[in-house]
Symmetry: C2
Subunit: 420 residues, 2 copies
């Protein structure tokens, strides 16, 4: 009997978990990703803020799966999916599937203001992180070379959106300014750099309990971050951010942490998407009329067996990927599908050195304890053993010295990029 | 009395050594570089071959000099030098100097075949290293996706020039193929990848004694590298390398290690250059008619007090930079200039894990001992303490596991680049 062919699109937490869970299943698997690496997205802001280098949080997918002989990994870009012919169109041709696991993830959402993308990069990929790192480091470099009149805007950093990504970036930026760049400049004091965190809602970290939001805001303000709540963005221009309340923030660097939407690949399925571009799926992550097609991870809009929407978090993606793998295995064995139940172990966000908030069930943590928990859990779940040791070393070094190692800007052709 | 203004162009070994040697001199210094980092070029091939990440061998210049209060560091590109008005033209304007130290280094030399540059990248900057890394990793990735007919060319790597850079890259490529990528592919055996080292002269490492050249060639061939001597390149095409002897090597990846020339900035001086684009200078590194203008490092053509040409090596650049700093100090003190004497501590090249050659005075080393010496000396001279520890860790890890950590390819805009 020929083995069933499982095609997995995307090597993020969901796709990789599904591939691993099928290691001993009677299937052959092709995992396609447009990048060669699995990315540990929860630490992406640390690459953006020069604390870690790219290889610390990115493991080659084919290396992670090298001992799993039923998986072929392809670096290739999927452009369309045909449910009718049961094929995936990608860079090197058309590939038929028996089962499809679509785990293509999310992209930055500018809510229709597409011209904001160039002015305010978001943080979804390594390329995004290196672009942000480049803009931040270059702003400080330029501030050393120009007149005082131009310097104020160069030393103002606006972060839009106070979810975990925005909070983490704002805290890290203020630490770079006050600690890392100490003594580095002759014409200005980097610790005077302004970091402004702009949030449309009434509090930071809206997914957290209210008292933790208040605590996080207090920790941010202690660090020197200016937090603007109930403040909506009207436009992002070359000069900075125009607010709906009429104010304008002159900032050479604007960063976007206000929202994501499903990968555009979802549109090629020909099914109705939700308003955030995600694919509504059944409680087993399958498409309603296509039981052999699963959408899982950030691209899926799934209500689990408890009636709760599965959140767009790494643990939810991993659990989802494993659930989908189990369903494929059950189908091959002729068994019924099972509903997914998300096991919520909690959420956490870090604000800076020894500053964080965390909640797990009835337990809430703030400050140093939350930060230690954050550190421990993130290192524990780093995908690759070598990365774990490297990251512990980088962090220990940074903690003792306040230095950030990945401060390399490099010039590539006309446009400068950063390395690391 | 107003302090004399020393402008240093270039933060490589020569420029940085000069700046440091002037730490307590009665001068104010501006160091201008078009990159924000000092690059430890002797280890650049390790970034190209995924063993190290960029921050391991690149330290921000302003960080290195942060405690030296008489230096202002500028990230800016110098476009021209006017000896007449004693000014340097750069991105942010025109800067007058009392003393100029031009240490802008070298670029790849394609001997008039400028169209070869795109096809066969050389190895002079971090951008070069990441471009090479990208091409090598992508060739293996493509080989997994295409038909067997296209695979042979993708799995052939041609390295042109068997100097230290070419030898180091060829050895590292063969190790990646045989060791690092083990088990990573399903459609081919990466250890079958060909690495062809093409040298126009009669032996590899022509700067070394003949017996060490022979030993290096033997070590390369043991590793599986094909060494072609007395073989001249006629053309580099999209298919690979055409040789003057009529043979053609079908290779998707061609790397250039055959030569360098002085930075194009030298042309703006208006003085006669040598055939490798370098500036002929006196034994004190000053321009013959401009005693306040020094050219030092790879950009200088200098015959030292012993009548020997100063080689284009990192130790020579460092010694030269220190000598120039001393001459400026002497001028300010009203003393005569001194001639430079290059102190030759020896040369070494590494071929792979536990394989190297080294010569120091009457002593010659090969194999494991030379490799340990190479390791020790390169770590010792790494510019930044943190980098040293990081590099030792990376190397120890790689030695034990055969893994290379920096295998990240990332897609940026249309053109994919690599990170790390």
């Amino acid at each position: 009997m020929e083995l069933k062919h499982v095609v997995i699109v995307g090597g993020g937490f969901a796709g990789l978990a599904a591939a691993k869970a099928l290691a001993t299943a009677p299937v052959r698997i092709t995992l396609i990703d447009k990048e060669n690496h699995h990315l540990f997205q929860p630490l992406l802001y640390q690459v953006a803020t020069s604390a870690l280098s790219s290889p610390d949080i990115a493991a080659p997918i084919r290396k992670v799966l090298r001992r799993q002989s039923n998986v072929t990994t392809l670096l290739s870009e999927v452009s369309a999916i045909s449910l009718e012919t049961q094929t995936v169109e990608h860079t090197y041709g058309s590939m038929p599937y028996d089962y499809l696991i679509l785990a293509a993830g999310a992209v930055n959402d500018y809510f229709g203001h597409d011209h904001w993308e160039e002015r305010a990069p978001g943080l979804k990929s390594l390329a995004d992180a290196l672009e942000i790192r480049h803009r931040v480091l270059t702003a400080f470099e330029k501030a050393e070379a120009v007149d005082a009149s131009e310097r104020a805007s160069l030393l103002t950093f606006a972060v839009i959106g106070a979810g975990p990504t925005g909070v983490e970036m704002a805290g890290a930026l203020k630490e770079i300014a006050t600690r890392t760049l100490n003594d580095n400049f002759r014409n200005f004091d980097p610790s005077k750099a302004r970091v402004v965190l702009i949030e449309g809602g009434p509090r930071v970290l809206s997914a957290f309990p209210e008292d933790l939001s208040a605590n996080a805001q207090m920790q941010l303000e202690k660090l020197g971050v200016e937090v603007l709540l109930n403040t909506r963005v009207k436009d992002i221009t070359e000069h900075g951010v125009d607010l709906e309340n009429g104010d304008a923030i002159a900032a050479a660097t604007v960063l976007w942490g206000a929202g994501v939407k499903g990968s555009p690949l979802a549109k090629t399925l020909g099914v109705e998407l939700d308003r955030r571009g995600r694919v509504p799926v059944g409680k087993d992550f399958a498409l309603p009329d296509h039981p052999n097609v699963f959408v899982v991870g950030d691209l899926a809009q799934c209500v689990d067996a408890k009636g709760e929407e599965v959140p767009g978090l790494a643990p939810a993606a991993s659990q989802g990927g494993e659930h989908v793998a189990a369903q494929i295995w059950r189908s091959i064995d002729g068994k019924d599908r099972q509903d997914f139940t998300y096991l919520d172990k909690g959420i956490m966000a870090t604000i800076g050195r020894s500053r964080a908030v965390a909640v797990s069930g009835p337990f809430k943590f703030t400050g140093g304890l939350a930060w230690l928990a954050w550190l421990f859990i993130h290192v524990l779940f780093l995908i690759d053993f070598r990365n774990r040791i490297a990251v512990i070393f980088e962090w220990a070094w940074a903690y003792v010295t306040f230095q950030r190692s990945a401060r390399v800007i490099l010039t590539r052709e006309k446009k400068p990029v950063v390395a690391g």
